[in-house]
Amino acid sequence: MAAMSKADVVASLHDVGLSHDGGAHFVLRHVSLTLERGEFVALLGPSGVGKSTLLRVLMGLMHPTEGQTGGSACVADAGAHATRRSRAMVFQDARLLPWRSVLRNVMFGLEGLHLSKSEKIARAQEALRLVGLEDAQDRLPRRLSGGQRQRVGVARALTVDPDLLLMDEPFGALDPITRTSLQEELQRIWQQTHKTVLFVTHDIEEALRLATRVVVLAGGPPAGITGEIVLDMPHRNPDTPAFRTYAARLRAMIAGEPDPGGEAYWRSAEI
């Protein structure tokens, strides 16, 4: 995979450092990351380590204090006749606009694209159907439960059909059933459309079920990428030893321990 052509780098960070106070304290430092077309990368790491910050940088919402960003999705946004956007993000808090109905929140990213009104509505409704909220389209955000809000945020990002989809704990507030069904939807969309996905989660099982690669952000401050595993599993069954070994390795890496390698499964099972 490392030998792909340049056009296939959707987004990349080169030795990026980020500080919220102009350089006095760094949250992230020396972070380099390349997202290639079609990858599904899960980002794991302890609370407060800088995962959301990293996503903001990739989304272009923050300029890195040091280092450079690059990649096809990060350079150009959709042109004048575009019907899709190069990047989209699901925020950790749902971040809905309180004055817009659910449908119009989902349509937010479509506005400005070269689509007719009815196409926009159709696309937004399709996205709402994917997240199971087709009946809630006229409600205002404050009438939604926590998980419903989060799903609207997911629909809003899906509907713009981005090359690069950045998701910050999108399924955190969902029950396992809804969660599983959304995971399956996401998986299907990813497989069909060859989107590039960067997915923050705290759920190791979720990461292993979905990702082609897992990146661990830890240490610090400043934090950095302390480990990376390219997953090589044909069947993503949590009850297989391969799955459990990966899970144990990741658990250790998040805790800041060295990667225990393939032997870890048995140790972790003792917990």
Binding site: L61, F91, W99
Partner: protein, 254 residues
Amino acid sequence: MSVKLSGPARLGLGLAGLVLFFGVWEAAVQSGLLPSGMVPAPSSLGPAWLDEVRGGFWQQAILDSLNHYLLGLLIGSVLGAGLGILCGMLGLLDSLLEGVVRLLRPVPGLAWVPFAILWFGLSTAGATFVIAISVFWINFYAAHSAVRGVDPELYELASAFGHGSFVGRLVKIVLPASAPGIMAGLRTGLGQGWMSVVAAELFGVPGIGARMMQASSLLATDVVVVYMLTMAMLYAITDFLFGFVRKWVLRWQP
């Protein structure tokens, strides 16, 4: 949890409050607690009003005042809210104008009267100018602080979904997010406009304010109060009508 009152209950209570207010006032005057020379009895207001209506003074005063009120309000609100939004969004413009704003803002509407006479003469234009100025600042500050108070996370959201340009932020985020504040400013301006009507008419432009001052020179406190209440009524009407606009614009609010 605060008590939630139904519409009719609110209205009833409001009326009860008014009845109480006028009742206590009338009783105070009747009992001599308030000397009648200093405060008219509410019961004397009706006759005084009828006199004014019969003479045609009341209708004429309202028409005259409405004329410069509406024009001044429109000009002041549009310019004030517009500039307030721009300054709230554009730090550079805000800084550049800050000194001038600080200089001009505290100049009272009344203090502009001499210049209103000099620049516009005694036409409605002079009165409109005085009203517009006072309405302007209210809207400027309301819009400015509403825009400043917009959650910066929403700008992030706008950027993330292709609305990071000035116009995008303005239309998609700033206007709706600051609508409650801007509406509050417009509403305050609506009231301030009526207040400035008196000041604007102080130098002879005919209208409610001029008529009020004329009555006060004769100690016709009943007529003065009739015009005070007339203003209250006109304000209530404008405020009521504006209420519909506000409700519609902010229909998403709880």
